[in-house]
Symmetry: C2
Subunit: 277 residues, 2 copies
């Protein structure tokens, strides 16, 4: 692991790091905020998964999470959204696929299967690195994210309910199997058999019996992707049928941007902190 | 005035706007945050002046001012740092002069005098636009800034103590006449006679009899520009001699970045709010 930069912020340290990821077969960059409490004891870890086109940097710059994370004593880890590098297969003019759009899955199709393994990266590769290099209490982890990263957080939590104490999302893609901006990506990454897609679709996972105790979801009513891409009512239906406690808050007038995310960041960090103990 | 973008944030509206500036003889872009309280009454205005290389966007993205401004009911105006456009004279490879480096002065030397009039822009042109287009109580204004913008805030407040109820700065350039990164700019903008520079130098203005009731200054101890460029002790000496109340806080371990600024943003907004009444 190499340190790209560190800066004191809100009493803690905001760092950016790179490492050679075995899982993704490329160098990966990520951001970690370590709160001041970590000088005295290991701190719980909150994973923030970013949306389409983002790197670790968008939320680091615009997410406004450090003040509250420092107050609550939370380590916040912000991975990249895909493998990176000149030799990583990509579709340059397509922001909904490839670099910046890894959809937090393990691809099975050539030429993507070699590098696009963001599911394993976020659940195995990077956690091992965090556990070994930061003052992290890995028995207390939470996960949340935005848009594609909300999809990532929901699906990862549903598949590993024992690992995460809590899960929340800002404007998540709740049913990527049927949304225009994600269906083509699932097909390219996972092949044409839609059965394989179900493992990376929150509503399908719930239908198939996966469970998580409760979710918090904030969704802006002025979000341009609401009707076609996000459709939180599909998650609402799935959770209602499955008996999963979903707190879905429609936020009047908010869009899909970090102006929305940063507004409700405090609420989400408090939600996680209460459940992390 | 044209609206570039608006987004709901922390209950208020973060907007970006452009207008044809007569003073700068070019189109200028600026950001305004209007808090929720403005729906019911005109709100006081806090001016934030950015540092070298910045536009309105750096603090809008990374300053973390909206939560507290929304709580306190403050309009926050963030101007650009220089005139902009292809036909604006510049030194492309010099980040300490020209575009992004207007030093909040009115240039007197060709070819800069036509456009580089940021002092008049920030004190006359833009305030008139704000007064005419936003729910602003212009009888209650405060000013603050970072680095070159801290220099701007201090010098502007010292020259118009009746206009601003309060003034603060993050890591300000307090004596641009003698700092390596500003002296060449003053010479190009104002000519070789250093007497003309005194009107844009906080310590010289104080020496020359200008007064402001009190300043709040935060300065990171790990700021790479501290010893050569910023030197807050020069302001401390000038204020002590003049009987100006200076609260200078050396912040252990903080650098010159927005990680530093955002950490102490709440303190500064509260400082201004208390004095804006």
């Amino acid at each position: 692991m190499k340190t790209v930069s560190t800066a004191k912020s809100h009493g803690g340290v905001q760092g950016v790091y790179t490492h050679a990821s075995e899982v993704c077969a490329c160098d990966m960059t990520f951001a970690v905020f370590v709160p001041p409490q970590a000088a005295e004891r290991p701190c719980p870890v909150v994973w923030y998964l970013s949306g389409l086109t983002c790197t670790h940097q968008n939320v680091m710059d615009k997410g406004e999470y450090r003040r509250m994370a420092a107050e609550l004593g939370l380590i916040v880890v912000c991975p990249d959204t895909s493998p990176r590098g000149d030799d990583i297969p990509d579709e340059k003019d397509n922001w909904q696929f490839g670099k910046g759009a890894g959809f937090y899955l393990d691809a099975t199709q050539a030429p993507y299967a070699r590098n696009y393994r963001m599911y394993s990266y976020v659940t195995e590769d990077l956690p091992a690195l965090i556990a070994g290099n930061f003052p992290a209490d890995m028995s207390r982890q939470a996960i949340f994210g935005h848009s594609m990263g909300g999809h990532g957080a929901l699906t990862i939590a549903l598949k590993s309910p024992g690992r995460y104490k809590s899960c929340s999302a800002f404007a998540p893609i709740v049913q990527p199997m049927t949304a225009g901006w994600s269906k083509p990506a699932l097909e390219k990454f996972l092949g044409r058999d839609a059965l394989a897609w179900r493992s990376y679709d929150a509503t399908a996972l719930i239908e198939d019996g996966h469970r998580f105790p409760e979710f918090l979801v904030d969704q802006g009513s002025a979000d341009g992707f609401l009707e076609d891409g996000l459709r939180p009512w599909l998650l609402e239906e799935a959770c209602a049928k499955a008996g999963i406690a979903l707190t879905l808050r429609m936020q009047e007038g908010y869009d899909h941007s970090y102006f929305f995310i940063s507004t409700f960041m405090d609420d989400h960090l408090k939600w996680h902190s209460e459940r992390l103990g």
